[in-house]
Amino acid sequence: MQMVEFEFRNELIKEDFSLNYCYQCGTCSSSCPVALVTEGEYNPRKIIEQSLLGLKDLLIKDQKPNIWLCCTCQMCVEECPQNVFLTEIFERIKNRIVSEGEPYPETFKTQAISVIENGLAIPLTQPIIRRREQLELPKVESADINEIKKLLEATDFKKKIKILEVSK
């Protein structure tokens, strides 16, 4: 049985008040390309409904619907007659999944580790550096990694996303 958690609901509303405006018309789901190809298994209207009802376990533990399938195309936000900022609310829910230590797709974590270690999601490799020279492109002066480390320490990033030891 699913528990209603008002506190969770109120926290979400505090983070994005537009959640309150939803009247469940379903325009978001009918404009969602992922809902279309999954025949409604991924369903933005349902995620908003569960948020309004405070069904935290369903969203955070069971992850039904799977919120990581959102393609962030923002069509739902654009089409919503009530100006609910769905993708912003989804981002907050994903943040909660991560900070509560629930599982999330590995690719997101791999990318985050690369940003922590290199400052970039895709580090420069030797073949690409050679290709850049071949194309007469200037050298990329990437981010000062110490600055990135200090900044992400200030935001507690590693702890929040449950990466305790980053491999060297």
Binding site: P33, V34, V37, T38, N66, W68, L69, C71, T72, C73, Q74, M75, V77, E78, E79, F85, T87, E91, R92, K94, N95, V98, Y104, P105, T107, F108, Q111, A112, V115, G119, L120, A121, I122, P123, L124, T125, I128, R131, R132, Q134, L135, E136, L137, P138, V140, E141, S142, A143, D144, E147, I148, K150, L151, L152, E153, A154, T155, F157, K160, I161
Partner: protein, 289 residues
């Protein structure tokens, strides 16, 4: 105020030939664009940004601080980077409390976000210079049917992006038109290419791509034009994957709009690195010469 490039991660690290065409195009229309050292990942609005809001804001604000220090606006070569940076600017410029929190984090590296620069997508700047481009066209791409894929983060959310029509975009097709090609009108023009879903479910990502390809094919397409490196990868890398799985024969060459513009301006194809495309572009080159 002048512009510095924000290259992001995908273009310099994987698709440098897209950068070559962009630099050459802006040079040709007489725009001097500088380089901004010390940039990090924007961060990716479809990736790391989804994990922690505060780190997303802080990393992006740090990038913006670098441009503020250079007294230069951002010219981004990637739609994802444009959306992230515009979103971060929008949030920090409208929410003083958040701005204070982020500035307290930036203090650790001696920076402070002010909010006095602008962020533009390269296609936005190209469109603003469309008359200059028109004058530079030497070899119009006559009879070439180009399916423009505007993509998502170039346009939406419109309240933040504040550019073009988010549901019926026109600017990319206008750029295709100005270089003498025929923009293809196809049903799923405004749909996502499916790239961001690949992180979670490759199957779904490929179905989304195939739906787009089918729609392009039905409308009679010679090649595809994109303005985002994530979309470029999805179209250029995954058509073969779809063919392998479904026994189809999709083989549309994929171009960055600046590659097509450069070709129409008569630039050397070797210097553009067109040979680095996975789907060979020879048929198109033959058609336009």
């Amino acid at each position: 105020m002048s512009y510095n490039y924000f290259l992001g991660c995908v273009i310099p690290g994987r698709l440098p030939f897209l950068e070559a065409s962009a630099r050459k195009t802006f040079e040709k229309i007489g725009m001097k664009v500088g380089d901004q050292a010390n940039c990090s990942c924007c961060p990716d609005p479809t990736g790391a940004a989804q994990l922690d809001h505060e780190s997303f804001l802080a990393l992006g604000a740090r990038n913006l601080c670098l441009f503020e220090k250079s007294k230069s606006n951002v010219l981004s070569l990637c739609s994802g980077c444009t959306e992230s940076l515009k979103t971060i600017k929008y949030i920090l410029d409208n929410d003083n409390e958040k701005k204070e929190v982020i500035n307290s984090k930036l203090k650790a590296i001696g920076m402070s976000y002010k909010g006095n620069i602008d962020i533009k997508h390269f296609a936005e700047v190209l469109y603003e210079n469309i008359e200059k481009i028109k004058k530079m066209v030497k070899k119009p791409l006559k009879d070439l049917k180009v399916a423009g894929h505007p993509g998502c983060h170039y346009l939406r959310p419109s309240e933040i992006m504040n550019w073009d029509d988010p549901l019926n975009p026109q600017t990319l097709d206008k750029l295709i038109e100005i270089i003498g090609a025929d923009p293809v009108d196809y049903n799923l023009k405004n749909d996502c290419c499916g790239n961001p879903v690949e992180k979670t479910d490759k199957e779904i990502s490929l179905i989304m791509l195939e739906n787009k390809l089918k729609s392009m094919k039905e409308a009679g397409t010679d090649c595809i034009a994109v303005i985002c490196p994530a979309c470029f990868q999805q179209f250029d890398f995954n058509q073969r994957e779809i063919n392998k799985r479904n026994n189809t024969d999709y083989n549309f060459p994929v171009f960055y709009i600046t590659e097509l513009i450069a070709l129409a301006m008569g630039m050397n194809t070797e210097k553009l690195g067109l040979n680095f495309h996975r789907i060979k572009v020879n048929d198109v080159l033959q058609k336009i010469t």
